[in-house]
């Protein structure tokens, strides 16, 4: 489980979820950066970020970004769990979520902090993540997180300053 993580809230009414998640992780690593810095590296404009362009921009700014690659949901879950649940070095992971039944939303970036894998077939396990929209830690026990993550394409990123 990732500990001592300070949740951040994106500016109200903005689309700055991805830069806010990156900022939260960089601050957790002890970096001294601002949302404006991150926003600039992410090539964010008034229409938000294009995720892949933002990743390129962050890499050009010297930030190491590891993208987890998995084609199947089970494999992706396992990778995610092994990183946020590592006993030696648990790391926060940025993922994108999308609500399949809410048309007026794009991808939404959040930071995964804790996962408990399901103990039986009836259980969906537990996922805790920072939602920059509210600036709070959300605890999902119903499996909604897994559906939304899968619907957004199972994308996940580990940020190393």
């Amino acid at each position: 489980m990732v500990s001592h993580f300070l949740p951040l809230r994106q500016p109200l009414g903005s689309n700055r979820c991805f830069p806010t998640t990156v900022l939260a992780i960089l601050l957790w690593h002890g970096e001294t950066v601002t949302l404006e810095d991150v926003s600039e590296w992410c090539l964010e404009d008034q229409d938000g970020c294009v995720l892949d362009l933002a990743l390129d921009g962050l890499r050009e700014a010297g930030i190491d970004i590891e993208e987890l690659i998995a084609h199947e949901e089970e494999e992706a879950r396992s990778q995610l769990q092994s990183i946020v649940g590592s006993e030696e070095e648990a790391q926060p992971v940025i993922v994108t979520l999308k609500n399949p039944f809410l048309p007026v939303t794009g991808d939404h970036a959040v930071v995964v902090l804790h996962i408990e894998m399901p103990e039986n077939e009836e259980s969906t396990g537990v996922v805790e993540y920072m939602d920059p929209l509210t600036g709070e830690i959300v605890r999902d026990e119903k499996g909604r997180f897994w559906q939304y993550w899968g619907y957004a394409g199972l994308r996940a990123f580990v940020i190393h300053p």
Binding site: F18, C49, A61, V104, G106, D107, G143
Partner: protein, 182 residues
């Protein structure tokens, strides 16, 4: 409710009970967290036919129960089946197809467009499906993604990021410069 009244409602354009059955069925689909998009070639072929059949079969017991409860009839009765086939099934299928097509359109859009872009429900367009693109704070559609019936993107007919930005800002798009990290 009597079977005669239900049959009258079935043929009526306005029926709160039938509308309620549809709402209940769509709610069942929308609250199911196990629903996943069709991904295998078998699930995607013939307009997601196998996947649609599988998902509808999965939802049928709960929907059957909901229709029966709404109409105060026995779940296994013919009338429930009739209401489902004549009025509810088409809406469930539409919702599932929207779920599948928006998944593929969404993957394509998130690779190319900004995260302020959202997707409307797919509309049939000849042999294809058209998903209109919107942007927060803009009233009109700013582009479209065209897909075939199996969810493959028809790129040459779909809006590019450059076209989208030109439509939003009324001028040719020039990418921002990256600032090196100090």
């Amino acid at each position: 409710m009597s079977a005669a009244k239900i049959l009258t409602d079935l043929n009526s354009k306005v029926s709160p009970d039938i509308d309620g059955c549809i709402e209940d069925a769509l709610q069942i689909v929308q609250t199911d967290v196990t629903l996943r998009p069709p991904k295998t070639a078998n699930e995607r072929q013939n307009g997601f036919a196998a996947w649609l059949a599988k998902e509808q079969a999965k939802f049928w017991p709960a929907i059957e129960q909901a229709i029966a409860q709404r109409l105060s009839v026995v779940p296994a009765s013919d009338i429930v089946q009739q209401v489902y086939v004549q009025q509810v099934q088409v809406e469930v299928e539409k919702l599932l197809r929207t779920f599948a097509l928006r998944y593929y359109a969404g993957l394509w859009v998130s690779k190319r467009m900004g995260d302020a872009v959202f997707l409307q429900a797919p509309e049939p367009q000849g042999d294809y499906w058209c998903v209109s693109l919107g942007v927060v704070n803009y009233q009109e559609s700013v582009g479209q993604v065209i897909l075939d019936s199996e969810g493959h993107i028809i790129e040459e007919q779909s809006t590019t990021r450059q076209q989208l930005l030109e439509r939003l800002h009324g001028q040719p798009f020039s990418p921002s410069e990256t600032t090196a990290r100090k």
